[in-house]
């Protein structure tokens, strides 16, 4: 897989001024990025996961050439973001925030045409592309193509944002919180679309603080906190880092605890319990990757002892567990 985005030790500080009197302002240096490095490959969705203020948007803005880094280097589509900014911009589609960024008194179609012209599209090629995107993102079906942007719902705005990012069919997408504030069906549709875009071979960089979403769509994740990348890898690998055991719960009927005690010979230490609905269960832990074999052995054993199995729950650590374990905080903080 070839590399689409390469960030190497990016550093960025902002100078802010806090009011300290009627006319006086105190200077404060805010270190937004303290050496961020990661790579994104073509054909994958890479999630930059972190709480608000962690440095996600700053990273996207540097990669999109809207902001100059103080230190470090970054290449997008093989081009340097500082010295070859125009070529970088020619290779990317960007969304920064879904709730604004269009002209209120222009329709969705007119807005897309305007931004398409700024990207060098014109004539029938522009018309066809705009038409295709309105169709693909279902704005046509929703009757929103020729409605003023000011009349759009948040879900429609998010779709239009994505349509703009796809105007030139760029090989690389950088999306800052693309589903923020969307209702669950709209968020799901956007997620499905991102997955299909990655399947087409595009590199998709997504920032989010939504653990569920990151876990659902991202092939790889970088956890960013306080301007530093604290972990990078596949979701499963990150989970393994914080927990080397997987918990399994098997719900059963007519348990014979004498027989069940013999399970310890198969899986080691076994716990028994009853849930809120009165259903009995067996709980044990096993090595990640061995759960299928262990569960099969236990089900075979239970079958031999005439204990009926109702349900099997495999409790993996969530991405939130990973995040809390690495940062000591929840993703919302």
């Amino acid at each position: 897989m070839s590399i689409a985005i390469e960030a190497d030790n990016l550093v960025k500080s902002y100078i802010t001024r806090l009011k300290s009197g009627f006319l006086r302002r105190k200077k404060r240096v805010l270190e937004a990025l303290k050496g961020v490095s990661f790579t994104v490959n073509y054909g994958e969705i890479f999630g930059l996961l972190g709480p608000n203020g962690a440095g996600k948007t700053t990273t996207i803005k540097i990669l999109a050439t809207l902001l100059l880094p103080d230190g470090g280097r970054a290449r997008v589509a093989g081009y340097d973001v500082v010295n070859e900014a125009e070529k970088v911009r020619d290779s990317i589609g960007v969304t920064l925030t879904v709730e604004k960024g269009f002209f209120w008194k222009l329709t969705g179609r007119e807005n897309l045409k305007y931004f398409g012209m700024l990207r060098g599209l014109s004539g029938s090629r522009l018309d066809e592309r705009v038409d295709y995107l309105l169709e693909m993102l279902e704005l046509k079906r929703l009757g929103a193509s020729d409605r003023f942007y000011e009349e759009y719902s948040l879900g429609m705005k998010a779709r239009l944002c994505l349509a703009r990012a796809l105007l030139t069919d760029p090989p690389i997408l950088m999306l800052d919180e693309p589903t923020l504030g969307l209702d669950p069906p709209s968020a799901r549709e956007i997620r499905n679309l991102l997955t299909s875009l990655a399947d087409e071979g595009k590199a998709v960089l997504v920032t989010t603080h939504n653990m569920f979403e990151a876990e659902l769509i991202c092939d790889r994740i970088a956890i960013i906190d306080d301007g530093r990348i604290i972990a990078t890898g596949r979701v499963e690998d990150l989970k393994r880092r914080v927990s080397n055991r997987i918990a399994v719960k098997i719900f059963v009927s007519n348990p014979n605890f004498g027989d069940l005690a013999r399970l310890e010979g198969i899986v080691g230490k076994v716990g028994f319990g009853v849930d809120d609905t009165g259903r009995a269960y067996i709980r044990f832990t096993c090595e990640p990757g061995s759960e299928d074999r262990v569960i099969a052995d236990i089900i075979k054993f239970l079958g031999e002892t005439n204990i009926r199995v109702f349900r099997v729950d495999v409790e993996e650590p969530t991405l939130e567990d990973v995040f809390i374990s690495l940062t000591g905080r929840t993703g919302e903080s």
Binding site: T65, L68, T97, E110, M117, L118, R119, G120, F148
Partner: protein, 269 residues
């Protein structure tokens, strides 16, 4: 490859859509010079006579002169606002970063984004007073208005460089509304739109020599007063416009790369 023509075309398209979707805006553009002159006449008549005004300001037709002055004043505002206001408005509605994501140099966007509006708005306001010019002076009046429009467009050239510098400063200072709110009224004050520059304090008179609109208004006055001996002054005004065009645009060209870097370094987009 994307270039300045794409930026121009996109802006023309957005202006076309804006007027198509806001018809009242278009209507008011045509009506306001008359409302302005009506108000000025109303106030003026309570203080003195029209003849007195014509004699003191040195114009043959006060009505036409005031209409032309209104057009020049509004055009100057439009031109300044088209380029600096472009930054301001787009930052407020969140479109600025997406415009700057166009794969061209940032200063190409700054120069060419405001240009169509800067030409179209004066053209529309000038067209608005065309019926009055024809009513007062027939075909000659119409020609005179067209010459005024040409002078306005000429006067726009130095304002372009000046506006790009101001637009960059707006982005860097992040105090857009304060800066804009001060610059435009000040420029109108020192350019002698509605009264002779001679009534201003000496220091403001000196400053006015560096303001491009001053020469646009002088040239407009000369054209609307029709005085042959003043033709030499008209040439002087046009010459000054040319000089300021060179000065401000050279200044902008030398500063723009540095300003672009500062804007992106500070995260102003």
């Amino acid at each position: 490859m994307v270039n300045w023509t794409h930026i121009l075309r996109a802006q023309i398209f957005s202006i076309k859509c804006w007027y198509k979707n806001n018809r009242w805006m278009l209507i008011s553009t045509f009506v306001w010079p008359y409302l302005m002159v009506g108000t000025l006449f109303g106030v003026g008549l309570t203080l003195g006579s029209i003849d007195e005004y014509a004699r003191k300001v040195g114009v043959a037709n006060p009505a036409l002169y005031l209409l032309a002055s209104s057009v020049v004043a509004m055009s100057s505002i439009y031109i300044m606002y088209s380029i600096t206001g472009f930054i301001l408005q787009n930052r407020w509605i969140g479109t600025l970063p997406y415009i700057f994501l166009s794969p061209v140099k940032a200063h190409t966007i700054m120069i060419f984004s405001g240009l169509p509006d800067a030409v179209l708005s004066p053209a529309l306001t000038t067209t608005a007073i065309l019926p009055a010019a024809i009513y007062f002076e027939g075909v000659t009046g119409a020609w005179r208005i067209l010459i005024i429009l040409l002078i306005i467009i000429l006067g726009m050239l130095p304002l372009m460089g000046l506006s790009v510098i101001i637009a960059s400063l707006l982005l860097i200072l992040k105090e857009e509304s304060n800066v804009m709110g001060s610059i435009i009224p000040f420029m109108l004050l020192v350019s002698g739109v509605y009264y002779p520059l001679e009534v201003l304090p000496r220091i403001l008179q000196l400053i006015s020599r560096a303001v491009p609109t001053t020469y646009v208004i002088e040239a407009t006055k000369i054209v609307s007063t029709y005085l042959i001996p003043e033709a030499r002054l008209l040439m002087t005004a046009l010459y000054m416009i040319g000089l300021l065009t060179l000065g401000y645009n050279l200044m902008a060209a030398s500063a723009i790369a540095k300003l672009d870097r500062i804007i992106k370094y500070r995260g102003a987009l």
